[in-house]
Amino acid sequence: MYRIINRSVQAFLCHYHGEATWHAVAHRIHVDSAGFEPLLHYDPSVTETLLSITCQVLCTDRLGLLEDVGTYLGTLEPLRRLLRFGGADYVEFLFSLDELQERAVMAMPDLELPRLRLIEFSSTEFVVEVVATFPGWASVLAGLMRTMADDYGSLVYIDTPQTGVKGVERVSVLILETEFSDGKSFALSRPDLRESA
């Protein structure tokens, strides 16, 4: 899973802070500025160094950075589309998180995503448990879930992730309004293919 984080941080830096910032970080962590390959494996220590140097450069903390990265990931069209396949509305999307790991494996067998578990307290109150060896996954997820709420047009409140026993992290979601805005459009077939059809 480290390569996904590496690549995401790189893309996030380039997108919001400019190539120069990325080059500065790459230089400091002794990584070629061409950066990380999402299909290659990296040592976890590289990720830790990447995160701490990025935090220094951006003057932010680890969890804040990870949440911003998650928010950014949700804006990437291919990823947001794959997540939208999870369900017709935000609640269905939340339930689809339960099988996100299996879905990812279906696409890429050696992609190591954390296991997610949805706990339903009421029809509007949920908690997503994240079981991962990488501390901070829940923050990435919280950012991603925020962007997806906008995508579905739902108004939700997502609390700052909490770390529980045995390193299990929890993200709690309160759904205030499912159809708050129009959200972004989603059709089963890809827009680029629709135009050429």
Binding site: A34, E37, P38, L39, L40, P78, L79, R81, L82, F85, A88, R103, M106, A107, M108, A187, L188, S189, R190, L193, R194, A197
Partner: protein, 369 residues
């Protein structure tokens, strides 16, 4: 539909077509008379007509391929054939069938059909899917999740298609980046980093190719070995940076004097090898090497100082050499070079220290091994 009203082994209680439509949004019910009685909401959507009910099956559909239960695959080859096959399917059902909508030929629907009830009038029930044309159908008819039963793998299929496309996209980008890296590594392994000329490896590869070409009836060629004179003085007096500058100047001058078809390589500190394609005439070579030496002897300006060097050149022509005696060819050029250098030792005028020499190959090298 058969209305039994109670559950018996192997029989359902009555199901309305609405319920059937929820289970199988692409069902089609054709009665014993060949008339469409009802159909699922998704099939109705793609047929594009609300008047499908009451129409004849063959007015809406065209059978392409049928496997009757317990029979062999059958493909209608004539209109008469098609009529017989349609009759067969409508009376007995089919284990597997491919058909198309007359309104939309080319988009094959795949499915299976079973006979309903016990009396001949109930007809057959089809369950259809888009099969391989799923993506096309979703695009063309703007289908959404609601158009598929939850048990249908359609959504997973579409999801997988997109996920695969994303992974493939990353993969082809990675391949492109690796290819670029490979090419630059190859270029680097063939290039002298200081002057940008070919290196020894590149030179030997080119030489081998040239020998092989000659064997197949290609043209003759020569190899010239250039060694700079007084270069060490420049290094000692002005430093290595100045020396590097001089090497670059010499490289540029050599490249400029030679033809595009020739190859210049820097093979050592102040040594260069030149492959001269199509030239094997001694007089011509002497004239050429004289010109090269004169060019090298032109003063080099390094900032506000000016220095002057010279060169000695030995050469050998390709006649009589083969791939296996290639090292000897280079050695002969080498010996010629040092003979040139030796003959210059007695001279006192450095500027006129220009010597090109060619030694005949040693007797044992005259005949290729």
């Amino acid at each position: 539909m058969s209305e039994t009203g109670h559950t018996k082994c192997g029989k359902f209680p009555g199901l309305g077509t609405t319920a059937i439509g929820l289970l199988m949004p692409m069902f089609l019910w054709v009665d014993g008379g060949g008339i469409v009685r009802d159909l699922g909401p998704t099939l109705e959507k793609v047929l594009g007509t609300e008047n499908a009910r009451g129409q004849r099956f063959e007015a809406l559909f065209n059978l392409l391929l049928v496997r009757p239960r317990g029979g062999d695959l059958d493909r209608p080859t004539s209109p008469a054939d098609a009529v017989v096959l349609t009759q067969e399917v409508l009376s007995r059902g089919a284990a597997r069938l491919h058909m198309e909508m007359r309104a939309r030929p080319g988009l094959t629907l795949r499915g299976t059909s079973v006979v309903l009830g016990n009396d001949d009038g109930s007809g057959v029930l089809f369950n259809l899917t888009f099969g391989i044309h799923m993506g096309e159908a979703v695009r063309e008819f703007g289908l959404s999740e609601a158009d598929f039963a939850a048990s249908d793998l359609a959504i997973e299929l579409l999801y997988l298609g997109e996920a695969n496309a994303a992974v493939l996209g990353e993969l082809s980008e990675l391949t492109a980046r690796l290819e670029l890296a490979r090419r630059s590594a190859v270029a680097q392994s063939m290039t002298d980093p200081l002057t940008g000329l070919a290196n020894r490896r590149a030179f030997e590869l080119a030489l081998t190719e040239e020998i092989e070409a000659q064997k197949r009836g290609g043209i003759e060629f020569s190899v010239a070995h250039v060694d700079l004179d007084y270069f060490k003085d420049v290094n000692d007096t002005y430093g290595h940076a100045a020396g590097d500058q001089v090497l670059n100047i010499v490289a540029a001058r050599l490249s400029h004097e030679l033809r595009q078809t020739d190859l210049v390589a820097r093979t050592g500190g102040d040594e260069f090898l030149i492959l001269l394609r199509g030239i094997a005439d001694r007089e011509q070579l002497l004239a050429l090497t004289d010109r090269l030496i004169a060019r090298i002897e032109e003063p080099c300006r390094l900032g506000d100082v000016q220095c002057q060097i010279s060169a000695s050149i030995g050469f050998e022509t390709s006649g009589g050499y083969s791939e296996s005696t290639l090292p000897q060819m280079l050695m002969t050029a080498d010996r010629a070079l040092y003979a040139a250098k030796r003959s210059a030792r007695g001279r006192t005028l450095p500027v006129s220290d220009r010597h090109a020499a060619s030694l005949p190959p040693e007797p044992d090298l005259e005949t290729p091994i």
